[in-house]
Symmetry: C2
Subunit: 382 residues, 2 copies
């Protein structure tokens, strides 16, 4: 096991009705004025916006709205929000939404206190030295952003999808009410399942140091995601399954399963970020296409762990059977497993490969993911 | 899944040589003078005391020593330490040791800032409103005290073994260097294994709401403890096994596996605390006696979960087989499974039962654990 430091200061307030506590949480942190960020206007129709603002008003907290954050969020929107935050001199950012809103809000919170352009924090031209306090009310369980410091945003001019992370960008409090997720569409449920599995397996398969205990935690998450996704496809109102799905999602990317592991990388995310950046495909849909394709290329490099995956997750014997079972499960739940299902054809590969190779430098794995290798993986996914 | 709030602010600095960072951690928190608590003088012989104080000195941090904390720590020692802490006006408590030293240090840290007698915090006559910052260097992985807010101390006059817990008593930073644990005796290794398993199963078997995901996390911990204990009995210097054992121990009682569960209780701890309080038996040794005896009485109340335990942990079919397998495993590793191995005979039962019934009120399960029931369980353990 490798040396590590584990510190996750985020408070998770989990359960039914917890969005009504958001004002109290902000008040506990001394916040008087907040930027309330969100995506579509749906939260105004379904009552969540009212519940949140009522909770803020009850504590005498003023808010400034900033809506319209889209999936695969873009840096231009973050820049606009930073300007609004500065104009109104808000003291905190409250994200009401899914991973895109949360990630954007982290970038906003850090960007407000950064002297230069916020994209410098993503290219690593500058580091995050401070951020406004971040709070969130989660409406989609997938990215784990509610309990980590990371944020992924796309620069639509440069077509780069990069990430930030800092001790300053952990949410202070994230509210996770699984009942708010019952209206998530069938598509976004299965894309979310794919995303959570991707977070779980990147380290599991690629780490040079991968203790057995951490592997068991990963398998607990994946088995839970598989089981609860199937329950929710049959019955979207099953609260228990929604709750376990959400909590497993949080655990997949809050630092726990990566603690003590070493030498891991995020090749599936690296490749998928190119698909999102170029073709604006849903992140989880891109990942369910890439994962089986990547596994078919990669598994010979870590045969024991792939055999373990087959045995522990699917009760099967060989690496190849495990990979096939995962791909078949993706097919079964209805998340794509082929680039063609995303509308991406062989003619798109050269541009895609170029974008991946750009990412490879940022991800620090350009030596392994050469043009030939990336081509092989993407051809597996055609 | 039940509503819950999860917040664990402790920083774990894990790995080889990390005790050399302790001064830096205290300096990061602005500490200039600390009460350094420990148990036996062994840490002076084996170099740990020197490493810790050198690290403090390098940061210009003064320390006041308080040694002699024993296993099953007692409130009189805590009172003495509080007097020392007040005399020297220390700003923090640094525990160097195992669970007894950590638990005592939490009581000291809270007691220093409590106007009345510290035992009032244990009897719930008073609540913890503040505590000095707590830091620790862990030398024995078992109690999970390094990443939780709990502390268990015995009042040797009243023969009560009670607990405290408060948001103020989470350690700020705990250093966990598995290499420091290589000299743990064979006995204390197996007692620790028993203790970790007890932390894992109390909720697993007794919770009225026990989500499957949380059960999987528990099984990951137990399987890891079983596997690494066997490795360490064969090779005490196996760092990887020592590290996984330690990290599993931390996860067993840091709030994770209990998040979202509801209606659980700690009957095995309730009964064992009587053994420790009356006969000063090692906590883990008492637990390995009580657990199989309790399971034989209890399993019919939760047959599905006991069947699950048998299947997932031991690959067996029935509740009875799972219980027998755990008892046999305790026998195999050499932790007691009979009261007689602790020197406790049938003649000791009346006094033991009385003490357990006193605990039952404190633990809030007096209605279930009547004299008859406690007698049945203890007779199972004869």
């Amino acid at each position: 096991m490798d040396n590590f430091v584990f510190h996750n200061p985020t408070t998770i307030d989990f359960g039914t009705g917890k969005e009504q506590q958001v004002g109290q949480h902000l008040a506990d942190h001394g916040i008087k004025k907040v930027l309330l960020t969100y995506g579509s206007e749906r939260i105004k129709r379904d009552g969540l916006f009212d519940a949140v603002t009522k909770s803020l008003a009850a504590q005498g907290i003023a808010w400034v709205e900033f809506g319209g954050i889209v999936s695969n969020p873009v840096i231009s929107t973050v820049r606009e929000a930073i300007a609004v935050a500065r104009t109104h001199q808000v003291e905190a950012v409250l994200a009401v939404g899914g991973g895109s809103v949360l990630d954007s809000s982290k970038a906003i919170a850090a960007g407000v206190l950064h002297d230069g352009d916020v994209w410098e924090l993503f290219t690593r031209a500058a580091t995050i030295k401070a951020a406004l306090p971040i709070f969130s009310v989660l409406t989609l369980a997938a990215t784990g952003s509610e309990m980590n410091s990371g944020a992924v945003v796309t620069n639509e001019e440069t077509r780069e999808k990069f990430a930030i992370g800092s001790p300053h960008t952990f949410p202070k409090v994230s509210i996770v009410n699984p009942a708010l997720m019952q209206t998530v569409s069938r598509d976004y449920l299965v894309y979310s399942a794919s995303d959570i599995i991707a977070h779980s397996i990147e380290g599991y398969f690629t780490a040079k140091v991968q203790p057995r205990f951490q592997s068991r935690l990963v398998e607990a998450i994946i088995k839970t995601v598989i089981e609860t996704t199937e329950t929710l496809l049959a019955d979207p109102t099953n609260y228990g399954a929604r709750a376990e799905f959400a909590w497993a999602s949080t655990q997949a990317l809050n630092g726990l399963i990566y603690s003590g592991t070493a030498g891991f990388s995020y090749p599936n995310h690296m490749i998928e970020h190119a698909l999102s950046a170029l073709f604006n495909v849903p992140h989880g849909a891109g990942l369910s296409v890439i994962m089986p394709a990547w596994m078919k290329w990669y598994h010979g490099r870590n045969p024991e762990q792939f055999k373990r995956f087959a045995e522990e997750v699917f009760g099967l014997d060989t690496a190849e059977q495990g990979i096939a079972a995962l791909e078949q499960w993706f097919d079964k739940i209805g998340t794509p497993t082929r680039l063609s299902q995303l509308g991406i054809t062989e003619a798109d590969l050269p541009a895609t490969i170029d974008n991946v190779l750009g990412n490879a430098k940022w991800f620090g794995i350009a030596e392994i993911y050469t043009r030939d290798v990336v081509t092989t993986i993407l051809k597996n996914a055609l």
